[in-house]
Symmetry: C2
Subunit: 337 residues, 2 copies
């Protein structure tokens, strides 16, 4: 059993109002590195920021780490175009970060990312493979891919209010810059990613296809970004069974309507809920209320816990322990978003 997190960068995240993380470009650039350090070490190791904020909540990476601590699950980080170095060990997909999708051809390495992913996926031998992501701005590039493929779906947000109009404007501008209309990339997943996507989506789609060839069942761990990854797989004409496991915060988000999209793509949708038994802790409340809603594999990690009979009370204890250790060691970073 292995949990892969594909981490990367799209400069689309730097557009004002797009990323839930805010507008500080340096912070945005470091979030994936911090997230994957937490998944690997349960703490920040080399990254100069901590992706935890009193308003936006903890990074969902703490939940994924917590479950991987409780279940016998190995983790592997794939560097699918990270802008900043991380202290976590990574398998390097050797692709460059994604540019702002309002430019022409923002992801020239889409093809390489797919090919890396396929080779990596094929090489694995797991009873089941979970795949999550960390890429700020990723729901906008996911919307780009879905629109380019002609899939009728929208996307969610890590923000309480989903800036969907802004995302749609950015995607429209992106399609125009690449000379595409909605649906023009149907059946051509590489064109979709190249034009309005990001390298993480291409890498994940490749991993799914490769793992499927190796007869490994895959659970896409996340929300609407995983719908976009699944759409890329389907538009590569791969129709093997596929599961998406995400949180209730995404499933209940009417602006996203993930259930219909999953059904259209013949994807089995599993909804999990970070609802913890009796407690009086702010961090757990934030997770229960959807701050953050999803990310870094959280929904899939909760599904993994469920599949292995791990109680949410134990997940809660582990989450709090990890959270406490991170803040104890970096009190200066607590309020840095």
């Amino acid at each position: 059993m292995r949990f892969v997190i594909a981490a990367g960068t799209t400069l689309t995240a730097n557009i004002d109002g797009i990323s839930g993380i805010g507008t500080n470009r340096d912070l945005i650039a470091h979030v994936p590195g911090g997230d994957v350090e937490i998944v690997e070490y349960g703490r920040i190791v080399r990254t100069p920021i901590v992706p935890i904020d009193p308003d936006l909540g903890p990074t969902p990476a703490v939940v994924t780490r917590a479950v991987c601590n409780l279940v016998d699950c190995e983790t592997t980080i794939v560097d699918a175009g990270m802008m900043k170095p991380t202290g976590a060990p990574v398998v390097d997909a050797e692709v460059s970060m994604g540019e702002d999708i309002r430019n022409r051809n923002p992801v020239p390495s889409a093809d390489d990312a797919f090919e890396f992913g396929k080779e990596f996926g094929r090489s694995l031998s797991e009873e089941v493979l979970y795949v999550g992501e960390s890429i700020p701005g990723g729901t906008t590039t996911a919307l780009g891919v879905l629109t380019a493929l002609g899939v009728d779906a929208t996307v969610s947000s890590s923000l309480p209010e989903n800036p969907l109009n802004l995302k749609q404007e950015v995607v429209e501008e992106g399609l125009e810059a690449s000379g595409l209309s909605p649906g023009d990339a149907a059946g051509n997943p590489i064109l979709a990613v190249q034009s309005v996507g990001d390298p993480v989506l291409a890498t994940i789609a490749g991993i799914v296809i490769g793992a499927t060839e190796a007869d490994i069942p895959v659970v896409l761990a996340g929300g609407t970004q995983m719908v976009a990854a699944a759409a890329l797989v389907r538009h590569a004409d791969v129709w093997d069974p596929l599961t998406i496991a995400t949180t209730n915060h995404i499933a209940d988000d009417e602006s996203a309507n993930i259930e219909a999209a999953a059904a259209d793509l013949e994807v089995d949708l599993r909804v999990t809920s970070p609802t913890f038994p009796e407690h009086d802790h702010f961090v757990l409340e934030q997770l229960e209320e959807g701050a953050p809603k999803e990310g870094v594999g959280m929904g899939g990690a909760l599904h993994l816990a469920e599949q292995n009979g791990v109680e949410l009370a134990d997940v809660a204890d582990e989450v709090l322990g990890i959270h406490r250790e991170i803040l104890d060691q970096h009190p200066e970073f607590t309020y840095n978003f």
Copy 2:
């Protein structure tokens, strides 16, 4: 608890007769990548060779993987100058591979490797840290470092017959090329590595110093290369307690005399033995007979097993399972050395 393997390349390994792996340069270059894939996945993933040979025995990586499977121990691979890509996730020390030490200044990134190691070691939080290596030709560069520092010690070999004369000739030539006499680098570990060492030794010495600063007890998992790493630490004037855990095949190697060297360096030496209860298996016999003697943390892994009350019978079962899976999946590679 974490087991770090620092993997890298020195072109010194390409000198005829130096490396136990033989003289095929392409194979030598790929061995570290294959070793660390086995540590991380228990199988070969991306590397085009399998470091297992009917005469030379299995890579000791299978033993380290076996123990890490049986004990709750996380593994981290550090890329300390690998020549070829690996499918294992790595923390990149961002140093270049080592050149042939018969050239002047073969390891210009010695300083960067030390600094990376220190930063990485300081950032960890472990009850205990094990550190091993994978670098073909590494005993020759270890001899280079020991000689440059003026430490009275020789080195072992992965070969049944240790080509010590050849190693000494290479080291002499290396010292001359860098304008040094034996002992000239005493108190200057960076000079020793730059002139006649390799980037893995500098990285490991840095990790030890950083981890020591963070109050993490360190076990150097290996033989005479770990004596050289310990010597670098001592010549950086760090005298905290330090343990080397290696196999009886190294401890009993009279050409190396590791006990005296460890005592001189004030290092606690722990000797383990890959001696498995009643069995009738060629691979286990090879390990018992010292083919290979040490490497990829094997001696330290056996110490880790002992510390955690894991029986050698269970290690043997796990080793055979891993070995079988590797050969089942790559029957074409069985005889490729």
